[in-house]
């Protein structure tokens, strides 16, 4: 337990010490999105018939921040320590692969949730906060953080160089999050793209998260939670198996 807690402490301290870059910067980015999109679209678009665009956008931006930062935390921590060689400090001690996984994921979750809370806080001024069902909000925030944190671990384990990780981020994570319905309801899309969106697991995370705020969503929150949970479990299983085998960590 001490080794798990220490690794968790180290992972939290790592992002906390550079909080300006890991916490404040993503909050600012989300705020810029909100300023621009609400300026252009507020008053022209209503979602689900009644919802003003800015109010609709806020939960999407919060969730996107949770997801991107959870991914960034595990992936950049792993690739940095791999490239710098300091990964050896956690490979030499008797840390079980379960503690290893758990510590990285909890740290990623914490960063994701902290950024998400920050975004929510600063966007309160732009749209009145409305919370229909906080339990759904929390459930999807945690699942989303865990899922993207796990994906970040996979990327961090797989990548040998920073540019490989950047490719993973730019060509997989960014399209998945941007095309997940953060900025629009998928019902506004042509039928074909609606169908494609349903293969994107991030869509379910955003949609379910938004349901917690408004009690309205593109698909049922139960379906969203089932898809998100299955994806998380599958990826977690894969990651644990790779860690157990020492994939790219132990030759």
């Amino acid at each position: 337990m001490t080794s798990f807690l220490t690794l968790l402490y180290k992972e939290v301290l790592r992002f906390w010490k550079v909080g300006f870059q890991t916490l404040a910067a993503p909050v600012l980015t989300a705020m810029l999105y909100l300023l621009i999109f609400s300026h252009v679209l507020e008053g022209r678009v209503r979602v689900y018939g009644t919802l003003p665009y800015t109010a609709f956008l806020v939960p999407g931006l919060v969730m996107m921040s949770v997801l991107q930062n959870a991914f960034a935390n595990t992936s950049s921590s792993l690739i940095q320590s791999k490239v710098m060689g300091s990964i050896v400090f956690i490979l030499l001690p008797p840390i079980s692969y379960l503690s290893f996984y758990g510590a990285y994921i909890v740290a990623a979750l914490l960063r994701g949730v902290m950024v998400g809370a920050g975004v929510l806080l600063v966007t309160c001024w732009f749209a009145p906060l409305h919370l229909e069902n906080p339990l759904w909000v929390l459930a999807f925030a945690f699942l989303g953080g865990a899922l993207l944190g796990t994906l970040g671990m996979l990327a961090g384990l797989w990548a040998d160089k920073f540019d490989q990780l950047a490719a993973f981020q730019n060509f997989l994570i960014m399209p998945l999050t941007f095309l997940s319905g953060v900025f629009y309801s998928i019902h506004s899309l042509p039928a074909f793209w609606q169908a494609v969106s349903r293969y994107n697991p991030v869509f379910y995370l955003i949609d379910g998260f938004r349901y917690g705020f408004f009690g309205m969503s593109d698909v049922s929150p139960w379906q969203s939670i089932a898809v998100s949970l299955s994806c998380t479990l599958i990826l977690a299983g894969l990651t644990l198996w790779l860690l157990h085998r020492g994939y790219k960590l132990r030759q």
Partner: protein, 304 residues
């Protein structure tokens, strides 16, 4: 008594390179053991296999009787490794680095842990730097922190992979004083180094690796005796020359005569005088590990 290290038929191949070729080795508890060999001989691979960083293709490795694969958590608690590369975590101070490393080994924060961290810092002359960020330290200081990190969990077996590479004389002395003390207190020390005089003065027993095989393994004095001899170095009067029946090798204007024991020196000199040569200068040379090392590395098919 359980050996500190037991390495049995360990092999590891990277593509076409046979990094370790069925290595057998035992190191007893309390030994100061040297692992020598040229670059690429397999020293670091062997150490990495002990530490669980490399998985051997076959064979078994045990640290204090614990298998490094099947009982990896117990084995890693018994082992402190100072890696060869100068690695560090740029986010933390020296003290944080050591506290975190202790925590990884399951040692929770306590007064005892802090006292031990302070003691290590003191012994490695790091006390002044305890609160400095790792990034701001010089190379030599970072090396000391690496040594300190390997000791936080008081491992009975300590492996140092080239700990003095690129390190100034002062640190080398500080380091060896501390390591010798740990050895005297019962810790088993395994050392790889490029400085052969260091190995000669520190190690009780030495293994030499070449191309993934152990080609020599003996106590340091035995190795020196087996592979190396004392020599008598003579400068003769200009124009004098030793006849072929006196076993000697000419190096410029110096004649080098091998001998085994100091009792042999007097008869050897008598024989030289008997040939009519006049000795103008005379010196004896001790056998050294460098000579042994070169001989072992260049002899074909040398066996342990």
């Amino acid at each position: 008594m359980i050996p500190a290290l037991r390495i049995h038929q360990v092999a590891k191949r990277y593509g076409s390179l046979q990094a370790l070729d069925r290595v057998d080795l035992e190191v007893a508890q309390g030994e100061f053991f040297g692992l020598l060999g040229p670059n690429g001989a397999g020293k670091t691979t062997l150490i990495s296999a002990l530490a669980g960083l490399v998985r051997p293709d076959s064979g078994r490795l045990e640290v204090m009787g614990c298998d490094v694969q099947s009982d990896y958590r117990a084995a890693r608690r018994q082992l402190g490794v100072v890696p060869q590369e100068l690695v560090f975590d740029p986010f933390f101070s020296v003290r944080e680095t050591l506290q975190i490393q202790a925590g990884y080994f399951g040692i929770a924060a306590s007064r005892e842990r802090d006292a031990w961290v302070d003691e290590i810092l003191h012994n490695l002359d790091l006390t002044d730097k305890a609160n400095s960020n790792m990034r701001t330290l010089s190379g030599g200081m970072k090396r000391r922190v690496l040594v300190a990190q390997a000791l936080v969990h008081r491992p009975p077996v300590i492996v140092l992979d080239e700990p003095t590479a690129g390190v100034d004389v002062e640190l080398r002395q500080t380091l060896w004083r501390f390591i010798r003390r740990l050895n005297a207190e019962g810790h088993t020390i395994v050392l790889t180094t490029h400085y052969l005089e260091e190995a000669e003065s520190l190690c009780g027993r030495i293994a030499m690796l070449r191309a993934g095989r152990i080609v020599a393994l003996d106590s340091t004095p035995n190795l020196l005796r087996r592979f190396s001899v004392h020599t008598l170095r003579l400068r003769l009067r200009a124009g004098d020359s030793l006849p072929a029946e006196v076993k000697a090798e000419r190096q410029g204007d110096t004649w080098v005569l091998p001998f085994e024991r100091f009792d042999d020196v007097e008869p050897l000199l008598a024989r030289v005088r008997a040939t009519g040569c006049v000795i103008e200068d005379l010196a004896t040379a001790q056998p050294d590990l460098e000579e042994v090392f070169l001989k072992v590395m260049h002899s074909e098919g040398a066996a342990a």
